[in-house]
Every structure is written in structure tokens, then in C-alpha cells.
Symmetry: C2
């Protein structure tokens, strides 16, 4: 199934089901008023939503309308928790060099996760206001999962069964604040403005074989001001999403609708490029002896789209945003 959220004046927006080819949509509020509600009542609602999705794909739905991604909010405009991992260790190791921070202990055996703001997620095409170009404005392309309720101390096996949706994320970052906030040990506040989401959240089956080992085995194609920036592949994630869910729920329940992010998608091969500027900068420093790429300026645009290995467009739609002055 594919879902999107349209504005209706409420904090959660209204739920629409989107056709497999992303061309059509249909209001689903008679089944669940919004996507958060659908996830909260997943056992009860998913069969009805699947039936509506099947009818839509068969062209048998009255009141279907053209799907307009630019009208969409984030699939979940607010979520109970936004937990963002750093599960691509290649990225993490490069960032240690970029930030000149101490190696994270047990980084290859214990997941690392920060909690970010989940009350004001941005839609896929809105302009993103930032306070200052001096803050080191950066994008971070990621994949993420949405869970039904996760009980405290869940096993990895049971955690896998709580994953009901997959999403694509731009985790906006302000690099000027990162090293200092990491040095506090308390994690990121100023370094992490509200994140943006691609318009469509999908059930894992929509990925076919690309949902494998609890990972999104797809490329994330990133362009910056219409220039190719990278297309790293999700298969190199060092922890699976079920492992991340179990880690996050070790000592507390996660209520339905929480989101866990992979952290910046990152590959060992230099040919893959990067999904954030900070990573490219540290690679430049290592490979070329100097940083050549500046961070974003007001007016800059970033575009992110997942691609299957055979080149087909991913199911999430496109993030395409411009940074503006607050």
C-alpha cells in the first residue's frame, strides 16, 4: 500500500491512499482520519485500506483524483518519536574525521541513535527556512521505518513485525552546531532542525526484493542545484531496522507511529557519492588534501529520489526543496 497526507487544518492532516503508479489518490478518511490513526489501529484498519488500494489500482474507485505530490504534507506531519540512528558506519567514521571527535565506543556492535523533533515534520516540496547561512546548512538523505506499538524490551524478531511503513527522509542538519553538541554527550538540538519527508509512505511489500534483511536495498539519488551529488545504496547499513527498533525500545515502550531513521545512506565506494555535504567535504579533505565544497546557501535546492537497482523510480515520490532565510 501507498499512503500520503493532505492538509485539512489539523495537526495530522487527512489520509489518502495513492495508486501504485503514484498517479491517482483517493480519500481514505472513512477508514482512518489520518495516517497516524491508521498506524495506531493497524490490525483493524489495514485490510480495509488494502481493499481500497486494490480498487484504486484497478480503476474502480469513484472520486479518485490526480495525485499531486506538491500538495502533500509529510506522511506523518507529527509522530510520537523521531529516533535517528547512525547505522551506516562508513558515514559515522567519516563524520568522526569531519568533526574531529573521539571514536564512538562499540560503534560497530551497538547502534547509535539520537532523538529529534517529531512535532513539525516538513512536506516534500515546501521551502525550508533556516536562521543563518553561517550555521553550515546541510541535507542528509535517509530511509526510515514507522512502527505500530513496540513493547518495552522487545526482541529483534518481534521488532521486525512492528514495522508497518517505510519512508524516505531529508534529515536537515546545521553542521556548525554538531561538534559542540556531540561534545556535551546530550545529543543534537540546534544541529537538527525539523526533518522533511518524501510524500509517500509505503508498506514493506511495495519494495519487493528491495526490502531485504530489514534494510532498504535501493539507491538514494541526490542532486544539489540540479548537479548529481550521489546515489549511495541502502544495503550497506550495518544494523537492520529491526535491530534499531529493539535497541530503541530496550527500556521504554514506543507508542504506535514512532519513526526510526537509518542515518545518512553511505557507501564505502567513493563512486557512490554522498547523501550529505559534510561527508563529501571530509572525503575531499582525505582524498584531495583540502575541503572544496561549501555548505548550502539560501536559494539552494536539493532533490532526493530512491531508485530500484533496475533503475525504476522508487515508491516514495521525490523530496525537492529550497532553503530560504527564516
Amino acid at each position: 500500500m501507498k499512503f500520503a497526507t493532505l492538509p485539512n487544518g489539523s495537526l495530522d492532516g487527512r489520509l489518502v491512499v495513492v495508486s501504485k503508479d503514484l498517479t491517482k489518490a483517493v480519500d481514505a478518511t472513512l477508514i482512518a482520519p489520518n495516517l497516524l490513526s491508521a498506524v495506531q489501529n493497524w490490525q483493524e484498519k489495514s485490510a480495509d485500506l488494502q481493499a481500497l488500494y486494490d480498487l484504486l489500482n484497478a480503476g474502480k474507485v469513484d472520486f479518485a483524483f490526480d495525485f499531486d505530490p506538491s500538495a502533500c504534507l509529510a506522511p506523518l506531519p507529527r509522530s510520537p518519536q523521531w529516533l535517528d540512528a547512525s547505522a551506516f558506519i562508513n558515514h559515522g567514521k567519516l563524520m568522526e574525521e569531519a568533526f574531529n571527535t573521539k571514536p564512538i565506543p562499540d560503534f560497530e556492535t551497538i547502534p547509535v541513535i539520537y532523538q529529534g523533533a517529531s512535532d513539525d515534520f516538513q512536506g516534500p516540496t515546501v521551502d525550508i527556512p533556516m536562521p543563518s547561512e553561517a550555521d553550515g546548512i546541510d541535507f542528509e538523505g535517509e530511509f526510515g521505518v514507522v512502527m505500530t506499538e513496540v513493547p518495552m524490551a522487545v526482541s529483534v524478531e518481534k521488532a521486525a513485525n512492528t514495522i508497518c511503513l517505510i519512508v524516505q527522509i531529508n534529515d536537515w542538519s546545521l553542521r556548525a552546531f554538531g561538534p559542540r553538541e556531540m561534545a556535551t554527550g546530550f545529543g543534537f538540538i540546534q544541529a537538527k532542525p525539523s526533518s522533511s519527508f518524501a510524500p509517500v509512505a509505503v508498506t514493506p511489500d511495495e519494495l519487493g526484493d528491495a526490502w531485504c534483511n530489514g534494510r532498504v536495498n535501493m539507491h538514494l539519488n541526490v542532486t544539489w542545484n540540479d548537479q548529481r551529488f550521489g546515489e549511495p545504496h541502502g544495503s550497506e547499513m550495518n544494523f537492520s531496522f529491526p535491530q534499531l527498533v529493539a535497541h530503541a525500545a530496550r527500556t521504554r515502550k514506543l507508542t504506535a507511529g514512532c519513526i526510526i531513521g537509518s542515518g545518512t545512506v553511505s557507501n564505502k565506494s567513493r563512486e557512490a557519492g554522498s547523501a550529505c555535504i559534510a561527508e563529501r567535504r571530509v572525503i575531499e579533505k582525505i582524498d584531495l588534501g583540502e575541503i572544496r565544497t561549501p555548505f548550502m546557501r539560501f536559494g539552494d535546492k536539493v532533490r532526493m529520489q530512491a531508485k530500484f537497482d533496475d533503475g525504476r523510480d522508487g515508491p516514495f515520490g521525490v523530496i525537492e526543496q529550497k532553503v530560504i532565510a527564516n
Copy 2:
């Protein structure tokens, strides 16, 4: 005004106004269905709520009922963000010794804040399930503030005007995870189970002179298994709540209903005792040469109540909880 939240099957509960002496309550759902909604519409709703509060205090409300704190949920059972500072530097410095972590840079000039779970706050008297006694189960007595919407990059002066409610918190902590999670730089996930709240949220005017310089100038009396543990005073907070709000909103909007905590209330004088076990333990190590106090065991009880300087009970009611096995 004083507010509490009773269960009604919804995630936000239902709003009641509580009398000044905490003996009576009245349903307020005709004004706002829940406290989050009231805070989201504070400009529009607060005058009506004040009128109801005044009538209740005058004994002129039909359908008033006896206020039962043990029936209460947290005033906000869920909140858009839970941002917990470490604004008592005395505590922070002691914790650096307890955790044997590096000094936090700029600790005395820049606030330190982590973001914790805000989707499953616990009520004042429910039993608290924890996975293991080996995790170093600890309480942390704090004060906190609830804000209306805070715009990005707000000034400290304007931040002060967004503070609409004051709350009392037990920020449950699992000390076994703390040092490792701090060393990641990503902040606390497993070290911070869901926090608990005293039953009553109050407007700043309810504190009278005890709301001063953006701080809660009251004692927080803590007992552990009915033994006195400490009564540190809120006046020694090194950053004011408006300073903390402005710091948290530097690069992102905080939607209405976010909560900022002070961190463990802590005083330089050893005679004040402590509001968490970890602090007592490190004081024992410093003053006595050895740690003598263990962390909590299943079945242990903690009680927290704010007190005015003249000895009167604070307006928040009492947190009184037992730790149990999950």
C-alpha cells in the same frame, strides 16, 4: 490556574480544572477537550478557563467533584517535545565525576539539553515497570515548563511569554546506560525511560513570588522508601527557563505544548541532600571515600513534593511511585 488530566480512553485524556486548595475539580472539556488543546489555543481559551477556575474556588460550580490525584494521568500524557536540560551546574559537575566523563565544553555559558520520549508520560501514582535492577534504576526530581508555540530563533524576552504552565517531574534514569550513551555524543535513549509527572500543572501566577527570574524558587522534597533524601531548592538553577526555551528554539519552531525540564534540582550545600541517587553516590565517594548507597530495587518507592519556602505544600500535588519488574 490549576489543571489535571483524567483518563477517557484517548491519548490526551480529558481536561479538568482543579481548585486552588487541590480538593475539588470540575470537567473543563466544554472549553477544551484536553490540556494539550488548551495550550494550543491558549490565547482563546485561557480567559474561559480562568473564569471556571474562579467559580470553582468560590464554590459556585455545579458538578464539582472531589479531586483524586491517584486517578490522574500526567497533565500532558503526550507532548510534542520533551527537552530536558541540565541547568543545575552543581549537579552536572558532580555527574561528570560520577560518570568519569570529560568536562562539558562551555557548560556554564551554553545550556545543555537532551530530547527524550514524550509519547508515553506516566501519571503520578502508577507503578513504574523497569526491565532490570542491574540497569541502575534512579529517580531525578525536576521542575519544568510548558510553552505555547515558540517561533524559531525567539529571543529570551519573547521566550518568557511563551511559558504558560509549570510542572513537576520525575525523570526516570537508568544509570548503567548513561556513560556509554554520553560517550556516543548522540544523547540518551536507553538511559531515559518515560518520565513521570505530578498530577497538577499550574500557571506561573500560582507560584506567586516563587516564580522569580524564570526559575521555580521552591524546595523539591524527595523521600525514598519513606526516608528523607533531600530538599534542594530551585533558585540555584544556572540558566532560567526562558534561556532554555530560546536555546531549544534557536533553529526550529517548537509547537504548542512542548515541555522543557530543568534537570535534577541540585544545591551546592551538602545539607540540601539530593534529588537523585547518582548524585548522592558521587558525593559519598567524594566526602566519604566510597559509594554506600545502591540504586533502586523492585518494590522501592519514591515520593516527590514541592514546598514553598514558608513550608506550605507546593501546588503540583505529589509524585509517589513504586518501581516494579516489567
